[in-house]
Symmetry: D2
Subunit: 249 residues, 4 copies
């Protein structure tokens, strides 16, 4: 099993999350590429530490929205989205190559991630752009969504992820953040769910039913001390349960 | 001989120069990478047309200075300049790869170009960054300056350029733009100088002396109708003189 | 009658439209405030020329979208839109005050303009922000839309505009740009329509019916030589018809 | 005596310093205006809390350098610096007016602050811009520097500040940050120095000599928990020493 997390999300003098701690926990780093966070110098430093620790480098591509941290919809023509995605992947690739590595996968961020999951045309735009660049580059997404269908259609490897700290609906979707209980805060509970996801391929949904989750990576968050503690608990519990952690890529 | 020109220097809804005309004249296109001009969509379109016409793709890297068009000094630490240069080259490379090509050379822009010519430490920073990315990627510069010395020192191919529409001092340097007569406007005269540069490897300096210019490419400008006319005259005169035009790369 | 036009829509080294010519034609200048176009130096220069020529200064406020020229929807919370609008008005006001004048009105730009016309909550957000700043500052909009209703509700002066170079539907709305004939290009026809709008308060709609347009200002465009010619024809025809041109403010 | 601090220095999702705590300590808030930090929504929120607490609102104007946090030199023509300063003051003023207040003073930030102290032409540019906007608006600076001379020359009120947590040279200048001991970290010592500055108008320099400091405000920092603790100690010590704290404006 793989553990991924969002990293390098500072900008200039600003920092976000505890990169140092997370890079000792995860096996795959979703590195911001300058459009929602991350300037070239921060990307360069994050890439170097990831390479040192054997953490896989993922391009965390976003709509161009520094002020909104990539969380809001921007109404762009498809041609522009495709160019933006290629631009970001390439920028990170050059920094990775300069350190002796390569971008190992792509994970869209924020609004782009959410919209691609439900918008087939948008998914095809991004998947098509990646295929035109390197058709062996895995794209990380929710399981069983428009992205997985698009990667199948256009011929790109897909990797699906689950969120140990998020509640799931009986149909396998994430409980919207607006609902109470959508995000779990108890590190032990989050760790237990991670183990079940990794060893059993299932999660207990909000109605108590057991839902199948076919995923190759678990996403942990690093924003705030509680989050890092939770990520650490996930890693410890997985290791204790005999799950071998390694980059999926 | 190669003819290079700055291209793709619009941003969003704004345009600069006559890209369409120039892409039918030059053999190498210095394509802006988003830091002084050029957004990903413009880069993508410029790359596609360049590929169609067999024009070589160069990364026209700059200080981050959209509002100043990369013409002014920004006081950046070397680590940041290296990361910025890699970021821009990689961004353009992904767009080139998506169209079936590669970045064939790097040409710094504006203040960065001018400062590298006289600042050995800055030249080493940029040259070192490129070497760490791909040590066979040519760097375009003035002849016999800190950049040529740095590329020799650090092991990177260098390509030197001359400007048919600029006056030269007896020591082989460009006459500063602030002096009268620094820029030549007569297309015929510019074309004659281009032929002499290409066939004889020399230029007539401001004092009438003949100066040796060891260059592999000539830079033509595309800003304004007179400039395009001048660039066309250069190409026609070179062809008439039997000079074969092709990308140096 | 007042003639307004969008001005100061360059950015850094880029230019858009023929500001010099338009500032000799219009009586009110919608000056870009840095969010879709216009940097402080361009704003400063445009303000100075407007003051010299007795042209009223309007704040042409926009969504933050330099790359999209303010033409695309950005999904912002209302609190942020209100702050953005105040920020832009104040920035232009300081430059106007520095030249001995004041911002005389506000005209939203692009996507914000279009969305406010049909979205009452958005209109209230912008109108409320302006009321909190200066409740005597007129807001320019389409006639009989959500903006006019909002200004009435919240107590802000409204000024309505018509477009002599745009086709109108029988219900008084603009024919969408996507339809053939939506934009008129013949300067003489545009000028005739302007005179009818100014003297009769009517326009001939696409079905030949005559529609009442209760407006205090006519918007002319300055992008491209044909547009400036058209704007000049409008001014000449209005003057010939005895319409007195002066800022509405 | 007045206590001032830099506030509102977040951007989008990023935060810098503990604004909440500082707004309960200081009497004057230097609010970032969007060029080195601070977007309109953050400015709006900071202004509202400042007004609620009776804290004076200062425009913390900067070179345009979000990525460098305004700490690095940008080579701008004077015309552009003047326009940038006016733009920022006006933007903050509109947000202040919307809350029932006004910008009470201007304090340049980072590289601009440092360069104005030693560059008379730059000081005159900024002072001249402020004079053209409102010639009663105080400008905050170091004592006895090019800014104080410029304000005297051009007729603008000046307010000088001292730094209780910084070492001073025998000639009254700040010890450069690069030297050991340049920044004091012990809250008690910082508080003692603040009291001496406020009650005696002096500071003990690095060589033990006593230096006169003619200042109307003390600057405290809010970056990090130690800094807030130090600022609190300064306020407590000043109050205990019978110094009345109030905005200078």
């Amino acid at each position: 099993m793989d553990l991924n997390s969002d990293l390098g999300e500072g900008f200039g003098a600003w920092r976000m999350g505890d990169d140092e701690s997370l890079l000792a926990i995860v096996t795959s780093a979703n590195i911001a590429c300058g459009f929602h966070a991350g300037d070239p110098a921060i990307m360069h430093r994050t890439v170097r530490v990831a390479i040192e620790r054997g953490v896989a480098i993922g391009a965390h591509v976003s709509y161009p929205d520094l002020r909104g941290f990539g969380r809001r919809h921007v109404d762009l023509p498809n041609e522009e989205i495709a160019a933006d995605v290629l631009y970001q992947i390439g920028a990170l690739e050059a920094l990775a190559v300069s350190g002796g590595a390569h971008v190992a996968y792509v994970k869209p961020h924020g609004a782009l991630y959410n919209e691609m999951a439900v918008d087939a045309a948008l998914a095809d735009t991004v998947v098509g752009a990646i295929v035109s660049y390197r058709d062996s580059l895995p794209l990380l997404s929710l399981p069983a969504c428009e992205v997985t269908r698009s990667t199948e259609r256009l011929g790109l490897p897909n990797v699906s992820e689950a969120f140990p700290d998020r509640a799931y609906e009986p149909d396998g979707r994430l409980t919207p953040r607006s609902r109470p209980g959508a995000v779990l805060h108890d590190p032990d509970e989050v760790a237990r769910r991670a183990v079940q996801m990794a060893t059993d391929g299932t999660v207990v949904a909000t109605d108590g039913s057991i839902v199948r989750l076919d995923v190759q990576t678990l996403c942990v968050h690093g924003d705030g001390p509680a989050a890092v503690q939770s990520a650490r608990a996930v890693r410890a519990a997985l290791t204790a349960a005999g799950v071998k952690l390694a980059p999926f890529s």
